[in-house]
Subunit: 451 residues, 2 copies
C-alpha cells in the first residue's frame, strides 16, 4: 500500500462515473502506485454482479452473494475516493462532473461507465409499472416479492377462477436474461414450492416466454437456440416466438401472433426485452447510435476529447480484430470489463509518456445462458455445446473471470451452498399481505384492524 | 408423516393468528398426528428471530440468517395450512376470524399470537417518521439503509458543519434493543468502516443513548446496569440517563434533563423506547392492561371463552410459581414460546378428554443483552455475570432454545461466518443516492439527468 495521501492534489485526477464491471476494472487497473488520484462515483453503494441478478429475483441467492460494498472492495487503494452520488451532468469545456447536489468535481481524465437501463420501446409510462425489468438490486427485490406474493395470493383466494391469473407468469424477451428468468420461475413452481401449499398446487403455475423474433437467444447459433427452447419446454415453460406484445396492464398482456391478437391474464409480468443507454450519453453531446450508446473510437474516446473515455454498456465500440476487420463489441459483462481496463491502460500510458496500447480488441469468451439448475447453452468461437457441461463452463467463466469481490473460493462455496440447499432461503421478504383490489368490502365483524 | 389429508373437515380446526415465537410453537406442539387441522395466518411470509433483528439493521447479518419462510418450516405438517393475510377482526360469537379481503375462517379453537408494535407515547403522527423502530424486517431494512446512507452523505458533503448531523446517531430507550443497537452502531463506526472513507473519519461518529429512567437496562439488577453502561462507554457510546425526549424531527431531537432543555442535531434517530400490543387485542373486547395487552387466566384464555387463547407479547399473563405466588410473564421470546406451547397442550388435552396441564408457569432463563461483539450482561436467577462469558451464554441460549428453523449447527455456522468476516457484507442496500433537501439548485451544465 503506497503512501498516496501526501501528494494529493498534485497528481492527475481521474474521475470514473459508475462502478459496474467497466468502472471497477478501470479503478483497479489505474492502480495505487501514486500515478493518479481517483474519484469513483456511483448512485448505489455496491458493485453488482449482474449476470446473477435473476437469482436474487427468484429467491435463489441473497443480495450479499452477488454484490459487494464499493468502498469495501476499494479500501486498500488509498488514492481512491468513493462517492455515493447521482451525476447530473458533465461539462466537457470546464472539465467538471456535476453532482445532483450541486458540487462540481474537476477531472483531468474522465471515464464514463454508467451502463444501461430498460427500454420499453416508447411505452415507458404505461408498461414500466406492470412489467418491471431486471437491472438493479431494487428491481430484483421488487420482482422477487411480486413472484412470491403471487403464490401466496393464489393460496389465500378460495375460488379457482380468481387464482389462475396469479399462477400465470409471463416473461417478455428471450435473450439470456429472459431465458434464465423463465427457466428459474418454472423450477420454483415445480420443485422449490412443491410441498408447501395446501389449497393450490404450485406446479400448476404456467410460465410463458414471449419473443418477437423467430427464435429464442437470437444472438446465438440457431442450433443452440433450438436446444435452449427444448430445455425450456422440458422444464415446463411455454415458449412463443414471433409473438409481439402490444399491451401490458395490471392484469395481463395483449399479444399479436400470426395476425391474431390474444389476451393473456397474468398478474406477474417480467420485462427482459430491451435496454437503453444511460442518459449521461445524451449529456455528452456527441453522436449516439440508435440505442442511445455513445460512439467511441479505438481508444474508447469521444470525438475531440482524448481525456474523456466511455466504456461498457454506454459505449458503442468496435473491436479491431487481428485480420484488420471491425466487429461491434457486444453489451456484455466481459466487454465492459475489458473496455474499462483498456481505458485505464491508455490513461496510464499517456501520463507516463509511454506508447499507448493498440486499439481496443475484444476477447470473446462466447455467449452463455443458463437454463435452470443443470443446463446451459454456450457459443464459444467455433464450439457450441449445451447441457450440463455447458452449465459447468458457465460457472467456471463467471467465477474465474468476472468475480470482482471476496475470494473466488468463498463465492463458489456460497453459491454451492445455495444451490445444494435448494430451499431458496432468500425467500424471506419484507412485504406484508395486501388485500386484492377486487376484494368485497369486509363485513362488519368488529373494529377494523388498521394495518 | 401422517395421512392427515383425508379426514379434513371432520377434525377440530385450530386457527392461529401470527407466526412469531408463540404461534410457531403452538403449531408445532399441536402436532401432525391427525388430532386437529390447523390454519396459521401471518401478514408476513416469514418467521422472524427477533432478538437478532438489530444485526440486520446494522448490516451484520442478512435477512435469511434470522428468518425463514413459514410454509417452508411447516411443510411437513400436512394438517397445517399457511395463509399470508391480514386479519381484520375476530367474531367471538360466530367463532370466525375475518380476513382483510373479506373471507371468514371458522375455528373451533383460536390462538391469537399477533405480538406487539411500537408505541410513541401518543406522539405517533410526529415521531414515527423520523425515529423508526425495530420490530419487523421492513423496519430493519429501512434502518440499515438510513445508517449506511448517513455515512455516505457525510462523505459526499464537502463542508464540516454540514457533516456533523449525519455523523450523530441517537438511540432512544436503553432496554436490551436500544443497548444492542447503540453498541453495534459504535462498532460499525470505529471498526467496520474504519479504512473505507477518505473525506471523513467514520470513527468520529457519535452515538448517543438516551434513557428516561435512572439507569440503562432498567429490568436488570443494578450492578448489571452499571456494567452495561461501562461497556457501552468503552465502545464509545455516550450514555445519558434521566433524559427525556420531548421532540423529534428530521434534523434532530430535543431532550430535557435536569430541568434543562437541549437540542441535539442528528439525522439518524432510532426508537427503542416503547411497545404497544397489536390492535387485535382491542378487537376481542375484553379487559386490557395499560399497554393494551389482553389479560388472560392461568390457561391463557380470555374471560368466558375457553376456546380462545392469547399468547406472547399480546398477552398479559401471570406465572403461577411453585410457592403459589404469581409473577407477571415478561414480554420476551422464551415467554411467547412457552405460552404457545402451553395453549397447544391445553387444546390437545381438552380434545382428547385428558386432564388439562397445570396453570401456566414461566421458566425464566434470565435476562440477556449483548453489548457489541464480545460482551453481554446476563441476569439468570441468582446469578449475574457479564463480559465475554455472558456473551457465550447468550449465544448458547439463543441458538439452543430459540432457533426454530434450519439445523442449529447451520445457523451457528452462518452466524460464526458473519462474525468472523466482520466485513458486514449485508451492507449492500438497494437505495440509491438522494441529494439532500438543502442542496443548492444545480447550475445548468447540461441536460439534467433524470434519476
Amino acid at each position: 500500500m503506497s503512501d498516496a495521501g501526501s501528494d494529493r492534489g498534485k497528481r492527475p485526477h481521474v474521475v470514473i462515473v459508475g462502478c459496474g464491471f467497466g468502472g471497477l476494472e478501470a479503478a483497479r487497473t489505474l492502480g495505487d502506485d501514486g500515478l493518479v488520484d481517483i474519484t469513483i462515483i456511483d448512485r448505489s453503494n455496491h458493485h453488482l454482479f449482474q449476470p446473477l441478478l435473476y437469482q436474487v429475483a427468484t429467491a435463489g441467492l441473497s443480495a450479499p452473494s452477488i454484490a459487494a460494498p464499493i468502498r469495501h472492495m476499494l479500501r486498500r487503494q488509498r488514492n481512491v475516493t468513493v462517492l455515493m452520488a447521482e451525476v447530473a451532468g458533465i461539462d466537457k469545456q470546464r472539465g467538471q462532473v456535476l453532482l445532483a447536489d450541486g458540487q462540481q468535481i474537476a477531472y483531468d481524465h474522465l471515464i464514463v461507465a454508467s451502463g444501461a437501463t430498460h427500454s420499453y420501446f416508447g411505452r415507458e409510462a404505461d408498461w414500466a409499472e406492470h412489467a418491471p425489468g431486471l437491472k438493479t438490486l431494487a428491481d430484483a427485490f421488487k420482482l422477487r416479492a411480486k413472484v412470491l406474493m403471487a403464490f401466496e395470493q393464489a393460496e389465500v383466494l378460495d375460488e379457482e377462477g380468481a387464482r389462475r391469473p396469479w399462477l400465470n407468469f409471463v416473461v417478455i424477451g428471450a435473450g439470456p436474461t429472459g431465458v434464465e428468468m423463465a427457466g428459474t420461475l418454472a423450477e420454483i413452481a415445480r420443485h422449490t414450492l412443491k410441498n408447501e401449499f395446501r389449497r393450490i398446487d404450485p406446479s400448476r403455475a404456467q410460465v410463458l416466454l414471449l419473443e418477437g423474433s423467430p427464435r429464442v437467444l437470437q444472438a446465438f447459433q440457431p442450433e443452440l437456440s433450438a436446444k435452449a427452447q427444448t430445455q425450456l419446454e422440458g422444464l415446463g415453460v411455454a415458449v412463443r416466438t414471433g409473438a409481439r406484445v402490444v399491451g401490458i396492464d395490471a392484469e395481463g398482456v395483449d399479444v399479436e401472433q400470426d395476425g391474431r391478437r390474444e389476451r393473456i391474464p397474468a398478474r406477474t409480468v417480467v420485462w427482459a426485452a430491451g435496454v437503453a443507454a444511460s442518459p449521461l450519453g445524451r449529456n455528452l453531446e456527441v453522436p449516439l447510435d440508435r440505442a442511445g450508446r455513445v460512439i467511441v473510437d479505438g481508444r474508447l474516446n469521444i470525438p475531440g476529447h482524448p481525456e474523456i473515455f466511455v466504456v461498457g454498456d454506454l459505449a458503442a465500440a468496435q473491436s479491431l480484430e487481428r485480420d484488420g476487420s471491425s466487429k461491434p463489441v457486444p453489451g456484455v459483462s466481459p466487454g465492459a470489463k475489458q473496455m474499462g481496463r483498456h481505458a485505464a491502460q491508455t490513461i496510464r500510458a499517456r501520463i507516463a509518456g509511454r506508447p499507448e496500447p493498440a486499439p481496443f480488441r475484444y476477447i470473446d469468451y462466447g455467449a452463455l445462458a443458463t437454463i435452470g439448475r443443470k443446463a446451459a447453452v454456450a457459443d464459444v468461437g467455433r464450439f457450441q455445446f449445451s447441457g450440463y457441461f455447458a452449465w459447468l463452463f458457465w460457472l467456471f467463466v463467471h467465477v474465474y473471470f468476472l468475480i470482482g469481490f471476496r475470494n473466488r473460493l468463498v463465492v463458489l462455496m456460497d453459491w454451492a451452498w445455495a444451490y445444494w440447499s435448494f430451499a431458496r432461503y432468500a425467500r424471506v421478504v419484507a412485504e406484508t399481505a395486501q388485500p386484492p383490489e377486487s376484494a368485497a368490502a369486509p363485513q362488519n365483524m368488529g373494529p377494523e384492524r388498521k394495518s
